[in-house]
């Protein structure tokens, strides 16, 4: 039960971080075109994205994190991998593969706007990686390597 709760928290963490990155990146792009954006507009956009975009991102990240945590758990059992670093790397790799698959099958070239640039894509991968570390850290039996 604790593991399930922590997993769900990890998904929400990844999606919230991703949503925040999306808001910041997008507003920076708009401000380059339109000039300074008021603090109220920044906050309203972040809140809007957390309410409307974060759940979509959570639905995308849920299976990615699930599979990548299982895979990294098995790998660390058989290989001498750092559980935290391994979980981060596998989650990031899983996210990258998933984004490529989504974009290959979605009607538009790139579904998630943040995924349009290399930096934005790396940030999305890091969001899932950080969530994987979060899950591993709080489910570890204090034998972290």
């Amino acid at each position: 039960m604790k593991k399930l709760l922590l997993f769900l928290l990890a998904v929400i963490l990844a999606a919230s971080l991703g949503s925040l990155m999306q808001s910041l990146f997008n507003l920076m792009a708009i401000s380059q075109l339109a000039g300074p954006i008021s603090m109220a507009d920044w906050l309203a956009t972040i809140l809007h994205d957390l309410m409307h975009f974060m759940p979509v991102l959570a639905a995308i990240f849920f299976p990615i994190l699930l599979v990548s945590l299982v895979v990294s758990g098995e790998l660390s059992r058989w290989l001498r991998l750092s559980r935290l670093a391994g979980s981060f790397a596998i989650a990031a790799l899983g996210t990258w593969i998933a984004l490529m698959l989504i974009n290959a099958f979605a009607p538009m070239p790139t579904l998630i706007a943040l995924n349009r640039s290399v930096v934005g894509t790396v940030l999305l991968l890091c969001c899932c990686g950080i969530a994987a570390i979060f899950y591993r850290f709080f489910t570890a039996e204090r034998r972290l390597s």
């Binding site: 997008n26 792009a29 075109l33 507009d41 409307h52 975009f53 998630i112």
Partner: protein
């Protein structure tokens, strides 16, 4: 009691007016085997040319009977997803020159764009194909090509373009053609009176900018107005009144949001950017447009008709002083994506339905 009678009368008159419109026309399916039709043009002798996205050009009789179907051998044509052969328009002197214009996606999946070519049309075949314009820069993916055309009385041509989906911020960059409407001479040159022709660093072909994906444009010879519509993202489809040099806002000012739910911009309007005449939220996906000046439907004079893909309907807009004062949604019962709408030389309204078994429909008065 008086109020009740007044309300009843109002409701009854609304029902009558709605019924009158619904019964005002009949729909004939002239052709039912078109493969992803995209655009059409009417020859002086009444025949109809239809483009198919896969690259074919069809010649149909005025009654829709197929006379020819030939592959348009356009330079570097790229057919994938939203790309392919797009619109068709006849040159003003077509009766003498047989010249026509074709817009299409060109390039490959990694580097493609919207292109314009001219050709002469003889016996169902295209000859003397010449490249006139290639929107720059090329981009990746296969989305948002625009591709509609409107001929102006000064022998120039407006070609609508798209932002390439992944490059939306470029719609505000006047140095390139992404998210623009360009104005060209009929040989593909730059008219010397284009609005940005003297602006350093700006692409001289630009007529208007700040567009997302414009798939409807019409010039009204009576009013001199040019209208366009464009796809918004999730919501925020727009009808615009075009004026040379103006900025139409995308992606800074929009009523739409990303398909994922994320905000595109905190602004729906912005200083220095033209607000739309009309907005559709949720999106109808407007894909074609005509401004009715025919004789068969006198009650629809000056109305704008917009064909909708996602909306699966034909939208009739009545305007007064460039304000939309009434919108009526027609043909919903057909539950069909409608790609294009044109006014025929006979005053009938012609529609192309979308899909692998597209139809050519004709609307005429019931009587």
């Amino acid at each position: 009691m008086t109020r009740f009678i007044a309300l009843w009368c109002m409701g009854f008159s609304l029902l009558l007016s709605a019924g009158a419109t619904a019964n005002a026309f009949k729909v004939d399916a002239l052709t039912t085997d078109l493969e992803n039709p995209w655009g059409m043009a009417f020859l002086p002798d009444g025949r109809i040319l239809v483009t198919e996205k896969s690259g074919y050009l069809l010649t149909l009789s005025a009654e829709g009977k197929r006379q020819s179907r030939s592959l348009a051998k356009l330079p570097n044509i790229f057919t994938a997803s939203q790309g392919g052969l797009l619109d068709i328009a006849l040159a003003p002197d077509f009766a003498q020159s047989n010249q026509l214009f074709l817009s299409y996606a060109c390039g490959d999946i990694n580097a493609n764009s919207t292109c314009l070519a001219s050709a002469t049309f003889n016996n169902g075949e295209l000859n003397d194909v010449q490249s006139l314009f290639h929107a720059k820069p090329d981009r990746r993916g296969a989305a948002h090509y625009g591709g509609r055309m409107a001929l102006l009385p000064d022998n120039t041509l407006l070609l609508t373009l798209g932002d390439g989906f992944d490059y939306r911020e470029q719609a505000q960059n006047k140095a390139n053609h992404l998210g623009k409407i360009v104005r060209l001479t009929l040989t593909g040159g730059v008219p010397t009176d284009n609005p940005l022709v003297n602006e350093a660093g700006a692409a001289a072909e630009i007529f208007t900018y700040g567009h997302r994906n414009v798939q409807g444009i019409v010039y009204d010879a009576v009013s001199g107005n040019i209208y366009s519509h464009e796809h918004g993202p999730k919501g925020g489809d727009e009808l615009n009144l075009l004026q040379a040099g103006n900025n139409y806002g995308w992606p800074v000012a929009t009523f739409g949001i990303d398909y994922t739910g994320a905000r595109v911009s905190p602004f729906t309007t912005f200083a220095g950017m033209q607000a739309p005449l009309h907005v559709w939220t949720p999106s109808i996906a407007p894909a074609g447009m005509t401004l009715y000046r025919g004789e068969l439907f006198p009650e629809w004079q000056g109305n704008i008709f917009v064909s909708a893909l996602a909306g699966k309907a034909l939208h009739r807009l009545a305007l007064k002083d460039n304000q939309v004062i009434k919108e009526e949604v027609l043909l919903q019962e057909r539950d069909t994506r409608i790609r294009d709408v044109r006014t025929g030389p006979d005053g009938a309204i012609y529609l192309l339905t979308d899909g692998a078994r597209g139809q050519l429909l004709r609307l005429t008065p019931h009587s």
